[in-house]
Symmetry: C2
Subunit: 163 residues, 2 copies
DNA sequence: CGTGAAATTAGTTGACC
DNA sequence: GGTCAACTAATTTCACG
């Protein structure tokens, strides 16, 4: 019962050792394979093989440094719920492209429910956020309305998957 | 005992080279210092010194592997806007602790505006999400109401800061 | 800040149980 | 899957311009 292949569409079957490896690497990817092997109670060779496979299969998307926005001078984060003018495919695609191109936008999700899109924005201060709404939102005729929620406390930020 | 808010920390002064280094490492932290130096048009020694400093100062919070939730069998992500029963400090702190303890919760922000909290949840499927709402939300007497938005498309996920 | 060299550590590969 | 050994590459430290 340790094996639970899941059926997300492109899900890759992962065994318990894969899961332990991913759990560790999602917290620290700079460990040597020897250290990793110790933490997951396996051998370095096995970790080398598995990590390579997990990268090749796209389970591991990227290996990155996480930067503290505040320390880097971006002290304002906002969650913006956006409703488009119409649910037309061309408008939706155009909007996605704009969000992908906007450097202030860290995350953008198309969603069901009250909004069409949820966008997370990280900028220096309230003036920069005002400029963002003016240049990217008010200026955008595809947007019917949007509601901003300014972050007061980053309670949890763990861009990792519980596996 | 109330928790110390995490924002309001001081920004660290960064020069152009620091910014270029951070921009690269936020996309790939497995480069050798020689490669990094080449990309930022500097020397390996300087990169070594600066990266160590950026880590010590907390500008770089962590170095991690990014896992594709779908490939790892978690094909449902939801954004949940939550309103608490009362804006009492003890209720707020208790809620924060619960969200930090919940493995399905990747991100949790306390916000101004329509909601008190915005929570991002990643689980296997709709059944697991239903279980999450039942066990963590409906079961929670501190929550007055919540609104879920199910992710249809992860348009952009770049947990990095534009610097 | 930059170079280069030496010492140490880590990553890679292949043979083998 | 696991170990071991040998090879290559990267990191660390230091002296120096």
């Amino acid at each position: 019962m340790t094996e639970t292949p899941r059926n997300g569409r492109n899900a890759v079957p992962l065994d318990e050792l894969d899961r332990r490896i991913l759990a560790v690497l999602q917290q620290d990817n700079r460990l040597s394979f020897a250290e990793l092997a110790e933490r997951v109670a396996s051998s370095a060779a096995s970790c080398v093989r598995r990590v390579r496979r997990l990268r090749e299969e796209g389970v591991i998307l990227a290996d990155i440094a996480l930067v503290d926005p505040g320390r880097a001078g971006k002290s304002l984060t906002a969650v913006v719920n956006i409703e488009l003018e119409a649910e037309r495919l061309d408008l939706v695609d155009a909007f996605k492209r704009e969000m992908r191109a906007a450097p202030e936008v860290n995350q953008c999700y198309m969603v069901t429910g009250d909004a069409d899109f949820v966008v997370m924005v990280t900028v220096e201060d309230i003036a920069a956020f005002e400029a963002f709404t003016r240049d990217r939102l008010y200026a955008n005729p595809n947007i019917r309305k949007f509601r901003s929620m300014i972050m007061l406390d980053r309670v949890k930020f763990e861009p990792r998957v519980a596996i």
